[in-house]
């Protein structure tokens, strides 16, 4: 192989409470598609943000064309020809397509924008990504797949030689994804190097020339084109065989704990959702981003009250109007966005653990401090929360320990039904396994568990049964024996995508 275009040597990076990168290296050749895979929290996103100039590394060096360079800002990265396409797109959707492509670099004469030239030049980059749209339409009117191509066109317009794509297919339909793959292959042919980050191992197998696997902020291994297969990738990602990683035991479901009847969520009011979960059962909810999974659990929990239908819990029929109603009925929700909805970062571990149970334990409105201290001590011990003392502010804990604090808050209330929305997002592998063990243990004690996950391995590894959502409704239900990446994707995308993937 000729000298690499880009070389990362021994990157390290720490955040308060977390070592995101502990010495990561990688190389990227000209015209190569390099897939970077790893579980959430492995350090992929941090690595890419450093390359794109969003963050700076604490240590390690970066070589471009064999020459040592420093990237101090996004502007710097772009000037070197490195562009990042974010998972959440970074377009100004109140502007038209052409304006977005040239944002900050508008052709102008004495400060007056040359609109005609803008459109003309935009056209040429849109053609390069196979987008046949009018450059003067507003970005907000485009479907997400086309917005992504606009973002790629924008990257090409700054002459990007290295294109970093972070989970590009996470919100695309299968047709949009196929289209994107075609564009990627075309770019590769033209000598553009692509770093492709994805959870979808099927895609990686289809697209990548080489795979670099990260685990816990370190290089876990590398696979050449001919070595890429599902089992090898998973083994490198989790550090052991899958069967050992997920502690799943089949459960004997008890009585029905939660019954959801013709529930209509404000997000997808045209569909009625019905399903039930038994005590001691773990049910996974799979689907693409935007399929309505989070909206469903939030409606069950009363965050966004249902427009119709009801839930039946412990023999009582109800429509929760607030989390308070849901909690009173025996529900608990570990929400998707831990820092926004799960934990109060500035408060101590103790205050976070007790937040939901203060009401129950109150003494005529006064705090029950001894009870509070006892509860938090118990949760710190039971969940093995790593903290110097229970007065430590939650913001200084690692992601995994923060998530355990959120779990502890709910376990203190001894819920009958536990809803978990992306329970292991952004936490390291060790903490992940502990969360899985906890789920197992709770199910063993008769708690009904519903978990939403975008990680295929997690759905396959932990579910007794999986519900797959597609565009706001439940597209199908899979028993454990029927669960496979293909069967889940098939339902999640609403098409026969499997044929093109294998």
């Amino acid at each position: 192989m000729s000298a690499p275009l880009l070389e990362v040597r021994n990157f390290t990076k720490s955040f308060p409470g977390v070592r995101a990168l502990r010495g990561v290296s990688l190389t990227l050749a000209r015209g190569e598609v390099l897939a970077v895979i790893g579980e959430n929290g492995a350090g992929k996103s941090t690595l890419m943000k450093i390359l794109a100039g969003v963050q700076r590394q604490d240590g390690g060096e970066l070589l471009l064309d064999g020459e040592r360079i420093e990237i101090r800002s996004v502007h710097d990265a772009l000037a070197r020809g490195i562009a990042l396409i974010h998972q959440e797109l970074n377009l100004a959707d109140n502007l038209d397509v052409a304006a977005n492509i040239f944002l900050g670099r508008e052709p102008h004469r004495a400060g007056i924008m040359d609109a005609r030239r803008l459109r003309r030049e935009a056209r040429q980059f849109l053609d390069a990504v196979g987008l046949d749209i009018d450059p003067s339409v507003l970005v907000s009117t485009l479907p997400i797949g086309k917005q992504q191509l606009v973002e790629i066109a924008k990257a090409l317009s700054v002459d990007a030689r290295v294109l970093i794509m972070d989970e590009p297919t996470s919100s695309l339909s299968s047709r949009e994804a196929e289209n994107l793959f075609a564009v990627i292959r075309d770019l590769r042919k033209r000598g553009v190097s692509i770093v492709y980050i994805s959870h979808r191992l099927g895609e990686v197998k289809e697209l990548a020339d080489r795979v670099t696997v990260l685990r816990d902020g370190e290089n876990a291994g590398e696979l050449a084109r001919e070595e890429i297969d599902h089992a090898r990738m998973v083994k490198l990602m989790v550090g052991r065989d899958l069967s050992q990683f997920y502690p799943h035991q089949p459960h004997k479901p008890g009585d029905v704990a939660l019954e959801v009847r013709a529930l209509r969520t404000p997000a997808n009011p045209q569909h009625e959702v019905s399903f039930s979960v038994s005590a001691g059962e773990i049910v996974g909810i799979a689907g693409l981003v935007g399929a309505g999974r989070t909206e469903l659990v939030e409606t069950i929990f009363g965050v966004t009250p249902a427009l119709g239908g009801s839930i039946r819990l412990g023999g009582v029929e109800m429509v929760p109007q607030s989390p308070l109603d849901a909690i009173a009925a025996g529900l608990a929700l570990v929400p998707e966005d831990r820092k926004q909805q799960g934990i109060v970062l500035g408060m101590s571990v103790r205050e976070n653990v007790s937040l939901a149970s203060l009401r129950r334990d109150q003494r005529h409105g006064f705090l029950n401090r001894p009870r509070e201290a006892q509860l938090s001590a118990q949760m710190i011990a039971d969940l093995r929360i790593k903290t110097p003392h229970d007065g430590q502010a939650a913001q200084f804990l690692s992601g995994g320990n923060q998530q355990k604090v959120v779990l502890g808050k709910w376990l203190a209330l001894e819920p009958r039904v536990l809803l978990l929305d992306e329970p292991t997002r952004g936490i390291d592998v060790g903490a992940k396994q502990e969360i899985y063990r906890l789920m197992e243990e709770l199910a063993g004690r008769g708690v009904a568990i519903i978990f939403v996950s975008s990680e295929m391995e997690e759905i396959l590894g932990m579910s007794d049964r999986a519900l797959v959502m597609h565009e706001g409704r439940i597209a199908g239900e899979l028993q454990r024996a029927e669960l496979s990446e293909e069967s889940v994707l098939h339902l999640a995308t609403g098409t026969h995508r499997t044929a093109t993937l294998s």
Partner: protein
Amino acid sequence: MKKILGITGLLVVVCIITALASESFLSGYNLENLVRRTALFGIISIGVAFVIVTGGIDLSIGSVVCLVGCGLPWMLKTYHLPLPVALAVVAAVSVGIGLLHGLIITKLRIQPFVVTLCGLMMYRGITRGFTRDQTFGFGSDYGGLRVLSTGNIPLPFIKGFAIPAPWITLLVVAVLAAIFLNRTIWGRYLFALGRNEEAARYSGINTDRMVILAYVISSTLAGLGGVLFVLDVNSAQPVDFGNVYELYAIAAAVLGGCSLRGGEGSIIGVIVGAALMQVLRNMIMLTTTRTNIEFAIIGAVILLGVIADELVKRYAVRRRAAKALAGGQG
């Protein structure tokens, strides 16, 4: 406790400087007056602290002081209402204003800044309207009530200085407020929602109700302050009675350790902050002939204090983060 050390130190320093610069600072008359004003401003500052803890702001305080301070003598003099009835009206109006603010802020999701800014303009305008800009006071009547503000509690063995009566009200308010904030579940809810309203709501806290409560406490204490202020000075001009008091109150709360981002604050700190504000004003009055630069000096001192506080906080966070990294992770 550590937090109010800095501000208390600043208060002591400013007191010493002023005492050195002007002999009259330590005179019994000046100190008594200073302590009295501190108590009055302390009460309205505690009110706004509740709102600030939720991450909100209440700009209407000065105008509520005006409405109540002018409205009370106006009702008594113009309509000869019995005192209990007039006080009841004043209480109802004060509570009602907070309820109105809270409901608009939580149910219609309009920013507190806008809602209470409009309140600031409306309540003064309304007062000027019904009083026709005339000054109202109690004259020589209601002496028994005025003792609440003007009275003194003599100290044994000390001559020439007595504790001004508003301190009784302040102490009652402060103790109740401190107990509420630190010992009840609702106080905890206020701190939690001030730091992260969404997480508080997801934890089953009725956040809207708590926010409304904070605005009711703020306007109620502003009303109580308005009554005590007018009892003290015995003459209220609708044009400027209570003018910019909301800023004194907010500044006192911020100096006392309340973060405008919400979720932080202590009652003792707020009282020390209110005292610092009054000493600063007193210093300017005693040591210069140009009292018109008062705002410039107060503004500068607050700015420096807040910057120093932020720098210290950042340093502490960085140190703790480094410690957590070294200890927590293997």
